[in-house]
């Protein structure tokens, strides 16, 4: 039951898994962020086809299990001529999935920015993209720092699904060690310990950022 001892004994393996987990979490979140901003802009744009596309995208990605999406992309991608490694597939699918959530979060932030801001921006002659890009979205993002932090953490936890398509991230390292060393309890507890500590730290950091930049409404 001495999982700390186990963790130290297999530190290089866990460190490797940790690096992979961090890389998945960061890169997928960057993609998710870009998609989130695009989807949110689609949904508030004056162009009906884009609005519908945004809505459909969000419903599909939020109401289908991540694991199912991962399998569909992993097996369907090559049929479309898009053959990605397990790592790239995981990053991409996590990005698409979390992007749908971020899109909604950012949209709710956009709806919370006071009308006067957009009116003033329009009055000085800015166009739709300029109003959105320079005035509204920056304020919207500051309103929803808290929810964005929660999504970052949720996304980081979802990286564990990489193991299902054969990417050796942290959970997968634990699984391998559990099998090989026949010490399941210690192996999984060690991974759980790493996830919990890292994400509690990240949560604390987002709390600090929120204090600094959030706009209270």
């Amino acid at each position: 039951m001495d999982f700390i001892g186990f963790l130290i004994e297999f530190a290089p393996r866990y460190l490797n898994g940790f690096q992979r987990y961090v890389s998945l979490a960061l890169f997928s979140f960057v993609i998710a962020f870009v998609i989130g901003v695009i989807i949110a802009s689609f949904r508030v744009s004056p162009i009906p086809p884009l609005q519908r596309f945004g809505t459909a995208y969000v419903s599909v990605f939020r109401n289908t299990p991540l694991l199912v999406l991962l399998f569909l992309f992993f097996f369907g991608g090559p049929k479309l001529g898009l053959t990605f490694s397990p790592y790239a597939t995981t990053v991409l699918v996590l990005g698409l999935y979390t992007g749908a959530y971020l899109g909604e979060t950012i949209r709710s932030g956009i709806n919370a920015v006071s009308k006067g801001q957009a009116e003033a921006a329009r009055a000085i002659g800015l166009g739709f993209t300029q109003v959105l890009g320079f005035i509204v979205v920056p304020q919207a993002l500051r309103t929803v720092v808290g929810p964005i932090g929660n999504l970052f953490i949720a996304n980081a936890k979802n990286t564990a699904l990489g193991l299902t398509i054969g990417y050796a991230e942290l959970t997968s390292v634990a699984q391998t060690l559990a099998n090989r060393e026949a010490r399941t309890v210690e192996a999984y507890l060690s991974a759980a310990f790493i996830y919990a500590t890292s994400l509690l730290i990240v949560g604390g950091l987002f709390g600090l950022i929120e204090k600094q930049v959030a706009i209270k409404r």
């Binding site: 109401n63 289908t64 309890v185 996830y195």
Partner: protein
């Protein structure tokens, strides 16, 4: 807000919107057409790959659809257990005893920060090694889901109870009700009403997560569709798509219920939405339309 961004475009603006309309329609159609063409080339539209799926009354669709029963059974069991533990933890976090408070706090904070998949693997594999040999894939999945969701639900319950005016519990104790009496007669009836939308949304999330039972071989929809897909004829992609549709129907239904409940409440009581980390992110999200009412309600009372 969204209306202001585009309100009454001038003639040039209207023309631009028209052009953007056509371009985006063309782009979306082109993308879809390309995808369909590639799938066609890859032979994914061959009739034999679909015969299995649409032969209702026959073996295969029944086999996968009955997986839905397993999915729902796991989801409901986990939800019930998570609700009980979550409620206890919420009370613990609101307790006056610092030991209880900190124990439940540590439970909630840690359990929320660990991937559900890890819980499920732990529950299925590690608990067996600890001598709990009775753990079947069903219980592995249920225990894993319960561990994680109890922590999230604890936060939802806590937020619900805290969202009530302090006067409620003060009044309850002023008329001589004990802690449990005031909980049962005054606090919970009000808090539960406010929490319902968040709880239903969490049930939707939990239902999605039952698909992780796949990893430990629980016979739910996804696992069964894999069995179907890898049999002959080989139609993995169609089988997973079939699973996706089944999940979508259930989860979308639940999300809609959550959203409707939330709207009703906002209209009736003007209750604030309960949001917690790790919980359902944004309930409004499922909606097709941003109604202006909603937008107006979110306007700050004083504009800067």
């Amino acid at each position: 807000m969204s209306s202001i961004l585009t309100e009454e475009p001038g003639p040039r603006g209207q023309r631009r919107i028209q052009i953007a309309n056509w371009i985006s329609v063309a782009a979306i159609i082109a993308l879809l057409a390309y995808a369909i063409w590639r799938f066609w080339q890859a032979g994914e539209f061959e009739a034999e790959r679909y015969e299995q799926l649409i032969a209702f009354g026959e073996e295969w669709p029944q086999f996968v659809i009955s997986g839905l029963g397993y999915t729902i059974r796991a989801a409901v069991t986990a939800m019930v257990l998570a609700t009980i533990i979550g409620f206890a933890m919420a009370l613990g976090r609101l307790s006056l005893n610092p030991v209880t408070r900190w124990t439940s706090r540590i439970y909630v904070e840690f359990f929320r920060s660990i991937p559900v998949l890890l819980f499920i693997l732990f529950a299925f594999l590690a608990l067996q090694d600890l001598g709990l040999g009775f753990i079947t894939p069903f219980w592995g999945l249920v225990i894993g889901l319960t561990a994680y969701n109890s922590a999230v639900l604890a936060e939802i319950f806590r937020a619900g109870i805290l969202s009530l005016d302090k006067g409620q519990s003060e009044a309850a104790s002023a008329i001589g009700l004990s802690y449990w009496q005031s909980m049962r007669l005054v606090i919970l009836p009000q808090a539960v009403r406010r929490m319902t939308p968040a709880i239903v949304a969490q049930l939707a999330t939990l239902t999605k997560d039952t698909s992780l039972g796949f990893v430990i071989g629980y016979q739910e929809v996804l696992r069964r569709s894999q069995v179907m897909g890898e049999g002959s004829p080989r139609n993995v992609l169609q089988a997973y798509f079939f699973a996706a549709v089944l999940y979508f129907i259930v989860v979308y239904g639940l999300s809609r219920v959550a959203r409707r409940l939330e709207r009703q409440q906002r209209k009736k009581y003007g209750a604030k939405r309960i949001e917690v980390a790790g919980g359902p992110e944004d309930l409004d999200a499922m909606g097709e339309e941003v109604d202006e009412d909603e937008t107006r309600e979110r306007e700050p009372a004083v504009s800067r």
